[in-house]
Symmetry: C2
Subunit: 427 residues, 2 copies
């Protein structure tokens, strides 16, 4: 970890810059994959399964017997843990019924809003180095609470043509409509355009590698919505002398083990804390199975020594981390001053792992500074609003002249006429 | 208008297909513009002002004296109309204060959500064939209600280097922070990357031509959020024999006059209504100043004769129109069955013009079928949520084992260790 002392505000943007991930080659590769899936459907998917997953897939749809096999492979203690996490996630995501609020903006002009589920959604769950069944919980639970009718899930098959059993178990438990053994950019294309096997959906969610992320950005052009542009996972910790350095070290490592491109930042008002945390990081790192990944991630990471908690928060608000742990005195008061972050973990016992799995909050969060403008996934991510208006004769009498004046000033006579013809009719 | 009778469901997707607007050339042009703005800042903006707007711009920022000049140019009746519209839009968009709801998902695990304004936002307001000051109201009012700190607005200068006075007046009235005389893709680039004159923002809103839309899609790659991908404006009307054909015709024309690429669809259970509306359209068209634009739009438009209101609604839900007028018996009951639309106008007196200007609902709505997954602009479009969690010793004791089991099953030992080290510490 690089240690930086008392940075003045001027170099903050430079100091906090994430590695850029631009690539024209990636863009073209994904464009070709999407075009192929759009034109050739299942045949293209079969070709890529062989090429990228080294898997011969006859039937993309996971069958009932595959579910049953999967269920028998999941140990009971893991089933119990998943049930406990599911209960917490459901509790947190449950939406209170909001009464329809009709607003009479002008006498005779009634306006209101209705929140409705997005009918068809698609979820991508990566496999790769570790199966991420927790992502299934984090996406399917809010989708079901929102009332989505059709929930399609794609996950890459292993070389023997199967999907991780825990992923299948969690998907069935939470209520996915259908699961397909398809990975990568081609899975995003299949859900965006539809193929012989895969139905098309209206919005696509879920993490993935750079091909998946690029494909999500490209299908936006075809009217498909996406949850958010995802980047490598990030954790920032703000710590003072009240923190427990071994906890902070464990948290930094839990982020670093995600991948060599993970971003980890420690901000502290205490040089002693920084020293102790770094020593602890080295010590704990030795016993980790994913040591190599974590080590590379830590090389890109920074420990920043600041003169006050306030400076630390200003710097972190500019960085807008995905996860932010506040391990300081009066952590809850400090948390109130956060303006840009995906999720905030308050106090020494609030480790990021809790939010990743089971505390109840969603772990699909904005990365790469997107927390400045994006929210994490919630039930409303699976819904959209429609506005309504009902205008009476009285309403058009009262409001008509205002509309006519404005339409005329914009040079839109037909807009004006739509009001005038009604006013004349009423007489 | 093309008249189609009793279409069976199979050809609906074909029948309802919008014209595709793909262009590799457009994509490359915009890519070059954005790269130039990113590298050369104000110099690039000056070059494009000359090239595209035929305008020599020394100072992009609109000065106080320009505001004063603009104000004196806006007639009092228009000022009054704008004030009335502003009051209605504020009433509809006002957000009720929601009490913080802390959820204890497991004893000792406290989770909650906070809604915060996006600090810096950018608005694009096109000029072109008609000045669209109503867009200023529809974007700035919710941004102010959300609490955005910095509201930057860009609008293209005319050849004499000025901006439409009503746009300036409305912007000042509603509380824009700063206005810049910049148009097109280069304006989007300026707000995304920042230049010597223009501050960078976190989210960009507003309509525009295909260059602006393409630029908004491209800046997504740089972590900038956008309101939605915008396309040509659309109106669908569902009418039965209780409608007033001259009203329906006026509404269809008000949409058609937006531009030759506007989409207009009439769905009716009555052949007589279709005939009368089409006759009225021809009659009213003659007196419209924007007759040529409207005529071209109508050529791409369709009148569809269906066997029942239910079939009509099914078809329209699949089309997902930006605006939907329901001019039928029991219009409010029919409106309850709408699942995909931007905004719904109920009954004979609810013309689209009302929502465009002054009823209070927002006129920035999803087009091109995006209403299946996107919402129109609201105060929450200018905000993002942060989730929080505070876990006590008791909380980690209760929930710790669940997290450990799940982390171990995902092969993420450092995630597990972040909990284990805390459980051991508590003893």
């Amino acid at each position: 970890m690089q240690v930086i002392k008392y940075p003045r505000p001027e170099p903050w943007p430079e100091l906090l810059r994430r590695p850029a991930l631009e690539s024209a080659a990636l863009e073209q590769t994904v464009k070709d994959i999407l075009a192929n899936v759009r034109t050739n459907g299942d045949a293209a998917l079969r070709q890529y399964a062989l090429e990228f997953d080294r898997s011969v897939v006859d039937e993309f749809l996971v069958s009932d017997s595959e579910y049953l096999d999967a269920e028998s492979l999941v140990p009971q203690d893991l089933k119990d843990a998943i049930a406990a996490a599911k209960a917490n996630i459901e509790k947190f995501h449950a939406v209170e019924k909001v009464e329809r609020r009709v607003i009479e903006t002008t006498p005779g002009v009634f306006c209101w809003t209705k929140l409705l589920p997005i009918e068809k959604i698609g979820l991508y769950v990566p496999a790769g180095s570790a199966p991420l069944f927790s992502t299934v919980l984090m996406l399917v639970i809010p989708a079901k609470l929102a009332g989505c009718k059709e929930i399609v899930l794609c996950s890459p098959p292993s070389a023997n043509g199967t999907i991780d059993p825990v992923t299948l178990y969690a998907a069935k438990l939470c209520g996915v409509t259908s699961i397909f053994k398809i990975g990568g950019a081609q899975a995003v294309g299949a859900m965006a355009f539809g193929t012989e096997s895969v139905p098309s959906v209206y919005k696509i969610f879920g993490p993935g590698n750079q091909f998946v992320t690029e494909a999500k950005l490209q299908v936006l052009r075809y009217g498909i919505a996406i949850d958010m542009p995802a980047g490598p996972s990030e954790l920032a910790v703000l710590a003072d002398e009240t923190c427990v350095p071994s906890f902070v070290a464990a948290d930094l490592l839990s982020q670093a083990e995600h991948g060599s491109d993970s971003q980890v930042i420690l901000v502290s008002t205490s040089q002693a804390v920084i020293d102790e945390v770094l020593t602890e990081v080295d010590r704990q790192l030795e016993s980790l199975p994913r040591k190599v990944l974590a080590k590379t991630a830590l090389e890109n990471s920074k420990a920043i020594f600041v003169d006050s908690i306030e400076t630390g928060i200003n710097l972190l608000n500019e960085y807008a981390p995905e996860h932010l742990i506040i391990a300081t005195a009066e952590a809850e008061v400090v948390a109130e001053t956060v303006t840009n972050a995906g999720s905030v973990f308050i106090g020494n016992y609030s480790c990021e792992s809790a939010g990743d799995y089971a505390s109840g909050t969603n772990h699909t969060l904005p990365t790469n500074g997107a927390a400045r403008a994006y929210s994490g996934v919630s039930v409303t991510s699976f819904m959209k609003t429609i506005t309504y208006q009902r205008i009476t004769e009285e309403g058009i009498r009262n409001l008509g002249p205002v509309i006519e004046t404005m339409a005329a000033a914009e040079g839109l006579d037909a807009h004006k006429n739509a009001v005038s013809i009604r006013r004349e009719f009423i007489g």
